[in-house]
Amino acid sequence: MRIRFLYTEAFRLSAIYAGIFALSVLALGSVVFVMTDRAFRDQVVLFSRADIAAMRNGFDAEGVKEAREVLQQIMGKPGESDFFLLQKDGKKIAGNLPPMPAQSGIVPLPGSGPGHDILGVGDFLEPGLYVYAGSDLQRVHAAEREILQALAWLFALAMLLAIGGGTLVSRSFLQRSDAMARACRAIMDGDLKARIPVRGAYDELDRLAGTINEMLDRIAALMENLRQVTNDIAHDLRTPVSHLRQRLERAREDSHEAEDYAEALSAAIEKTDEILQLFASLLRIAQIEGGARRADFSPIALGPLLTHVRDMFGAVAEASGHHLELKLQAEAAIRGDRALIIQLLTNLTENAILHTPEGTNISLLLSRTDERALITVSDDGPGVPREEHDKLFQRLYRREASRSRPGYGLGLSLVAAIAELHGADISLRDDSAPGLGVTLSFPVTLPTAQGTG
């Protein structure tokens, strides 16, 4: 567990940075070292040449004796070359070096005596008369060792910073990713309300956490929806299925003629169809709430659509003694699923027809504001008490007054689901006028009235 941070992305990154940093320190150090070394050596050669030039001056003025004099003078002075030799035809005349093979130019004398590494310059004052001046490189080596040491310290410090920093960064990253993992684990263990903590810094991790939380909210909503559907099915299929069973049982007891059986079977098939219809409605609501149909959206002109609905139900309303009227105060187009909008309007219109007494006026109204298209389905029937308004759109809610009629209380929850899918708000008229008025407010996506119905 302790070295887990070694496997984190943050640590990997800081290790790479540390590596690059180390390489650049090494490269820089090498350049510094090589250049210092060369400068030291150039200086040694420069000193040597100056000393030889002084001896040559002496020789040119007064001969070998004077050259020797100059040599001994320089040898006594500190800060100049350390090692000298003046030899004639291989025989030493003066200096502190043993005779050596005469060679002009820059002549290194490695390993010349214990602890010495001499670099110097040799020259001929006249044929056969050889002079050499050089310095011990030990001092150069010492200085170079100092530089190397400093570089080593710098290197160590840089590595320490890189690794330390990387560890700190990866620790904090780890703590946050651990928090994410803990939240996920909590959700896996059944705490569906757990969410990933957001630090509020709006950095990458926060955004990631935010996105995951949104995803979890969406999943939770879908789960809740699913749970609701499952509960509804469990509770509400029991009733019609047990009714079906009762009928079949009674048919078995009471039927004597083939006709009785046929009638009982027809009734049973009808009841089964009702149950299947209920199933289909529940599934449809769940499907719409799942939002899968949004992909099918296309522009819909509401005027022609409402006219279609009026034409469909005008005769039906009239047959049951209602009056259905259409008022198009404006034209508006929305983006949506045409079949679903028709179903929504059908549900509201049928509710008005089925749940109000004869003589009730029902109206379909289309109006709009700048940004919303408003469809109002209203009637002047007995209405619904204010305190029941909130419950109306709940799944399977049935008003006491309508319990005796066929249906399972899914119509308005389907309306709510379709409205939500289209980003429409539902409001119920809340004034003293009689009857119920349902207004759907759709966002208008097309600025003008034109669109395809």
Binding site: F279, A280, A292, A315, V316, E350
Partner: protein, 223 residues
Amino acid sequence: MKILLIEDDRETAGHIVHGLESQGHSVEQVHDGIEGLAQARAGEHSALIVDRMLPGMDGLSLVKQLRTEGRQIPVLFLTTMSGLDDRVAGLEGGGDDYLVKPFAFSELLARVNAITRRHGEGEPTKLRVADLEMDLIRRTASRGGKGIDLQPQEFRLLEYLLRNAGRVVTRTMLLENVWDLHFDPRTNIVETHLSRLRSKIDRGFGAELIHTVRGAGYILRAD
């Protein structure tokens, strides 16, 4: 009529075969998509009934393949009720009609009859049964030479009945094709409009043309 049924649920398949055979059709049944495609390619059938979900190759791909090969055989798709949204995809994919399971057998029969006839025909501009006439271009209808004034939806309803003259059309077929409703409304839209239409084209003309077929639907025919 020789029908090919591609359905993996053997109970449903048996139910359909039994029903169609009792109506005098001959049915060949296949239980997976690949075998189904091979049989359909043989080209010996007058109609194809295909389930959307099949082992081997799904129904939609199968029909798309047949259409790509230029085969015009009429196709009726079957689907489960959770597949309501598949309807559009099915029709776009080359299906002629779409039926959601579970269904009443009379519904299946009416639809098979409707799609097989539709294929034989071009698009007529005038429809006629007995002395009832419709001009689809001029949007007029008349019976016995006497003009009949029809509302737009009544016109569409009569047009659909005339196109399917002599065959049973179900309530659901009318809802889908005349009113574009793909669910079961709670009010009697079909009955109301039909009764209005009847009062316009049948009342006062002697022989009735629109008949109710109990437990199945409606039929327009001259007896």
